[in-house]
Amino acid sequence: MFVLELAGASKRYDQRWALRGVDLALEPGSALGLLGPNGAGKTTALRLLLGFSQPSEGSVRLQGLAPADPASRIGVAYLPERLTLPSRMTVRSFLEHHAALAGLRGSERDEDVAAVLETTQLSGRAADRIGALSKGLTQRVGFAQAFLARPRLLLLDEPTSGLDPIGVRDARDWILAARSRGCAVLVSSHLLSEVERTCDQIAIIDEGRVAASGSLDELLREGESLEDAFVRLVRS
């Protein structure tokens, strides 16, 4: 069973097609990078997967279920591109809130919150209000909530946005660590290097359609960088 699957999925907003007949699937433990220029339809694909939008055509399954079914999102974590966190909450209370929504209780919840704070190097800022954090630290809080309850599937939309180079490297390490625990990952990004280093499958989306998909070896010609391949595939 695929952890996520889009079959002929299309989405139209008024007269504009944001996605057109997209087929994507991800097996458990795999990592798929969604690459594409701005406005290509990457975020729309994530919205369909999470049930935020209904496909105009085609079907979407998350863990074998329709996204409207809340059971499809058990063990799924999401980090949106436009991260809005409650500025008046402290980092710890925000994480405890999300841990409760993820089904954790009591000491299990406390331990998990402490673990993700440690992982994302936020232990020293746990009592700070989110509104007082820099953009980079806020993004770390976003990652911390995504790692709560040991997810089976991570959906990350432009995850390194707002992070400094050290943060970018940390984020990459966290994603790879999650993968090593068997977590499947879908990363939407326009940063080719990040996707190249964290994913084994790549799909290039352009103007709402999948321009190419496959492993890096399948997509790259000899001596070609991912950037070159990306430009070639998008322009063609």
Partner: protein, 270 residues
């Protein structure tokens, strides 16, 4: 494992209530409520042997107190309902526009749980404020003029149900209209219903659209006034309390149903 529906609702409603308490309008509302209570205290303080003369006929103060108490209590109830509408007019829509709903709804949380929790959180503030001023008003009137507390309790229930209807409809509208348009629409609709309810209570013969709206709209004003009927005994109101109660209950169910239906179809983050 998906947490239980009650746990999800409790966690989300608590956060929604805290969100609601942080609104800039809340300190102003608390101030106005306390001011209202002081005004009620002042207005009801002339207890005792004072008489009022109307058209040359002396009226016992307690007879007048029932009528004036009803007017005050009803106005404060309507203020509570209006506040519920104002708070509800962006308590859900804002989470969609700023994207904060997305993080929650990416968890195994039903949209209905989220919407109901936001409704409960927003109503919590209106109910707390309503409980303060209505209980205070009823207590002062009871202490000084002996009006029935039981009638006040029933009117409080009617007010709570009316506030729920107004808040749920305001929330539903806010998913379809911009904030200002939502607020103006809520004000206009509540105002129209209150005017029609009042005309009916004064015995006016309504016709055409006015009659239809009066018959079908939630009895926001009428239900509170009729519940307070004991305060103006022996005068009897023509409205049937049971029928009004059923109508209000139907509106509670319908307004919450509309909210859930509209939010279920809502596109998030588009």
């Amino acid at each position: 494992m998906r947490p239980g529906a009650f746990t999800v609702f409790r966690v989300l409603a608590a956060e929604a209530f805290r969100d609601s308490m942080r609104r800039r309008i809340v300190p102003a509302v608390v101030f106005v409520s306390l001011l209202s209570l002081l005004a009620v205290d002042s207005c009801t303080s002339c207890a005792g042997s004072t008489d009022i003369v109307q058209n040359g006929e002396a009226l016992a103060l307690n007879e007048v107190a029932g009528w004036s108490g009803m007017v005050i209590y009803t106005l404060l109830s309507l203020w509570t309902m209006l506040l519920a509408g104002l708070l509800g007019s962006d308590h859900l829509a804002e989470t969609i526009s700023d994207g904060s709903a997305n993080l929650v709804l990416a968890r195994p949380v039903r949209r209905s749980e989220f919407a109901l929790a936001r409704l409960a959180g927003s109503l919590g503030v209106s109910y707390a404020m309503g409980a303060l001023i209505l209980t205070g008003t009823a207590y002062l009137l009871h202490l000084r003029h002996g009006v029935s507390l039981g009638a006040a309790a029933w009117a409080g229930v009617a007010c709570a149900a009316g506030a729920l209807v107004v808040a749920a409809l305001a929330m539903s509208l806010s998913l379809l209209l911009p904030r200002l348009a939502t607020v103006l629409t809520v004000l206009a609709l509540v105002g129209a219903v209150v005017i029609l309810n009042s005309l009916r209570l004064f015995g006016a013969d309504l016709e055409g659209l006015g009659y239809v709206v009066q018959e079908l709209a939630p009895p926001l004003c009428t239900s509170v006034v009729v519940a307070l009927g004991a305060w103006i005994a022996p005068v009897e109101l023509s409205e049937d309390p049971l029928q009004l109660g059923l109508k209000l209950a139907a509106w509670v169910i319908a307004s919450v149903g509309v909210l859930l239906a509209v939010f279920r179809r809502q596109e998030l983050g588009s």
